[in-house]
Symmetry: D2
Subunit: 303 residues, 4 copies
């Protein structure tokens, strides 16, 4: 089996490598030629100088797997790529695209006879070793064609990948997965902040998180990683209290609004990330202003 991997960053590069290690043929392209050269030299990946070059190296039917940032980069690549393909070829979007976009793209490609599969991919940087959890949306036929690839990428041929529904369903499931991930992370962060704040007990957070890994109800992979990361240093002095977010957490909240379902935890988890980056604090300034206005309370001034 041979496919093209477009986008060889943290995720795409590792996935290409995992496929190559399993004996698959991968033609790789990235906008950074160094990355292509490195994978080509070390991992026997076929280097492509352009997307067109990658496509040209593929047997028919062609399979092109995209691992690109969601939004514009993915959109533009699909627009550019499609004229190079023919009926019967398959595009896989393994990135974190919005499922509405995937539905739209799938329908548009179908009109041209091109198959589309959205493969929500979880597992982070550990996927190279552990395998990736793949939530797949697409027609039964397309998914069947892709099965050998999915079996290699997943933790095992049987487990860790599944067709969860039609086109869009894969990215939908991935979106919800990430929403849950935000909630679990925030749960841990809040609990650990309270442990840390109880100065009277002078608790060792590395010890407690390690302890919880064995037999407790909260044992989880996120806890495993947190325990390990805290072993070295739990003061976290050099880490800024600044937490980015990517699209899925936001889309999960918007989905909850669309469905009319209360998701206070998933929403709070997102909003706390917003709060971590709110240097301006305009709302807080307003509250201080109001307290002064009605109660004569002193206003703390900026320095």
């Amino acid at each position: 089996m041979k496919l093209a991997m477009i986008g060889l960053g943290k995720m795409g590069g590792s996935m290409a490598r995992r496929l190559l290690r399993a004996g698959m043929e991968v033609v790789g392209y990235d906008h950074d030629p160094k990355v292509v050269a490195q994978l080509s030299a070390k991992d026997e990946m076929s280097a492509a100088a352009s997307v067109a070059d990658a496509v040209a190296q593929l047997p028919i039917p062609r399979i092109v797997w995209l691992m690109l940032p969601s939004g514009e980069p993915t959109e533009q690549q699909i627009q550019a790529l499609t004229p190079m393909l023919s009926a019967g070829d398959i595009i896989v979007d393994g990135g974190n695209s919005n499922y509405h976009d995937s539905q739209r793209r799938g329908a548009w490609l179908a009109e041209q006879g091109i198959g589309f599969m959205d493969a929500g991919t979880s597992g982070g940087v550990w996927g190279l070793e552990n395998g990736y959890c793949l939530m797949v949306g697409g027609s039964v036929g397309v998914v069947k064609t892709m099965q050998p690839v999915l079996q290699v990428l997943a933790p095992s041929p049987e487990h860790g990948w599944a067709r969860v529904g039609p086109v869009g369903a894969g990215h939908f499931a991935k979106m919800i997965h990430n929403g849950i991930e935000y909630g679990m992370m925030q749960s841990l962060a809040e609990g650990l902040e309270l442990l840390r704040g109880k100065q009277e007990f002078d608790l060792d957070l590395a010890q407690i998180t390690e302890l919880w890994r064995h037999g407790s109800v909260v044992r989880s992979w996120l806890l495993d990683l947190t325990a390990k990361a805290l072993q070295a240093n739990q003061d976290l002095e050099t880490i800024a209290p600044y937490v980015p977010d990517s699209g899925e957490g936001r889309w999960t909240v918007i989905e909850s609004v669309d469905q009319g379902v209360a998701t206070p935890v998933l929403t709070s988890a997102l909003q706390m990330r917003f709060a971590s980056r709110n240097e301006r604090g305009y709302g807080f300034r307003l509250l201080s202003l109001m307290r002064n206005a009605f109660g004569g309370h002193a206003v703390k001034r900026t320095e």
Copy 2:
């Protein structure tokens, strides 16, 4: 009618003044003698050099109104004051005490024949002109004795004061009032932050808040004050994004936990104040650590 006012700060001082203006006799004491001297000079208040001196100047039955910080200051003053009083005298706690404390104090004073009234007081620095909203807890008899005072302090003899229940009920109602106040303030702050954040429209927040004062559903006293405060300057550059909280907001959340009632808005309003003061951001640092651990995401470093 003559009473002693113990504590002549922002609230107590203004309340003494309002009573004096209405022709009542007020003996005033504060731990800051300058404040006593000033009110004595300008407003014809009888100065007291100590609480004992204040008590000594009162006719029997004595009425002592406390306007002190809640917690220890109020507790200690009641402990110190009680031996100076006799059966039939009345202590009023007009501060922001926890209603559990008021219930305990009321019961303890009742054993000694001393009346107790908890008078939750709202109105802030505007009370001197507008009158104070007084939520009163106590026996019917004690409240009846206090009626002439309440009629002066309130916005009108009929409106703005009421006996809402037995001892403790006054501070309970005040606690809930402040919980609601936090929620309303946060509602305004969040909405205005979104108005401000919509740079495309370059909205004038002073204009819009003023506009809402006339005929809109959100018109309110907090809006009146906010609109006025924004007239001068809506950049708020010199105000730090730092919002203190006092006991009632916290007690409201604890009450909701005790009752088993979901109060997400009152709770969020309190928690946002906590967030405004969280310079350490340990939970945020943990989130950043976790993201790095599972996804290899770059960690923003402190400078």
Copy 3:
């Protein structure tokens, strides 16, 4: 001044009436001919048998004010109406449209030389008497043309209406207004639920809300109405615990996600409305299932 009012429901009908009382000429149309007949008979409104008829009765430049449900009804009406108009005419959308829609419509109408004004309207059923708070978006020229109408609809010629920005800004301000409204309502509801839940004090919520109207920090129009409504009956036994929501509360949350601003109170207020309507409770069932699975806790069964 003469204009057409399309949509004579709770809001549109009252606004037509307010204009007519001030001596303006109003041509009215509604899909329910009875409503048209009634306003025509009682209030001397010119009846229109169709939108085309309404347009035909207008002098040039024509002014058509829409008071329709947002979304499809407004969209379709604007699509149908536009071919009947000419350059220089003005369409006003006084409904609760999404500001993105208003921006799109304004741009599309501008291409045809037709003026557009979005007039976010607050005040509810009390607007007929009190006047409406009008947040207006549009060009300076269009708003100037509409000024005589706005001065009549608002609580006074000077107050309660304003041009807050270009097309879209009016509906944007109205959206935020409603977000704040949700937050204030939920603040009151939560506080009063805690008052009610404190059975020990047997509090009279009609008394306390009335009391707070005088001198307290939470005094507000929503409190005025709540106090009045509770006078008759505070058990609320015949009112179902079921709270609808309309678009603005949802759009406010989506706006906060788009801006990346934490709005926990506005969001919780919306989510509690969702929760009030969640008869299925699938998430709660899942929690019960999980508790059973790890802790052997008994599951409450449906009856």
Copy 4:
């Protein structure tokens, strides 16, 4: 090693059994004699007819492990038990007591020379097989004495138990553990509710949760159990949407208020449980009342 286990319910009974299987001598007492008889017959536990009888069967120094409901049952048992013990004996509280209580009890017992250890215990009904995660608070000496017992109860002699700090620290860590547990459960419940609500995709929640167990970021023991429980039936029709809560979730929220730390996720998780049991919905009725009062919106009536 020999100890008395007081309270042989779901947790205590299984812990006694695990100790017996490892060859420890356990004297067991429960207020239900049938439970005692059963463990005595099947598992060779020494039956005690009363707490006094249990104490009488112990060698000196005596070790009494309590597995009782927190609050009054634990308090009363410690009060009743203490006079039967002598200096050098040890009481272990393995239940879910509030850490403030444990601190108080530890200090009181220390005055009498009796050792106290608080052992927060996680693992649920699976602990018999898997072992229990034990978060232990107490003096170094007391914990050393208890080490052989802890090594048997934990998943392995080395892992799954630790002295996290002085008396109280064990129950503190357990409280936070449960707070996090609530947050993780609610995260899963919200995400799965959104999966379920997306009818268009007709997703199979048993499939997706099973899928996530392999390689995804959210893999966790709670997910394992949820996936398994959903295999049989994902409609959950017979499970009522009703979720109890126990003390620790509430205490975690109170702790966050005491520390002044925002914990929106842990708090929301608790509040949603409150909401699941709020049949009265007084707050919702109030919202409906308000909507009617200002906007004339129809009120849904109870049937």
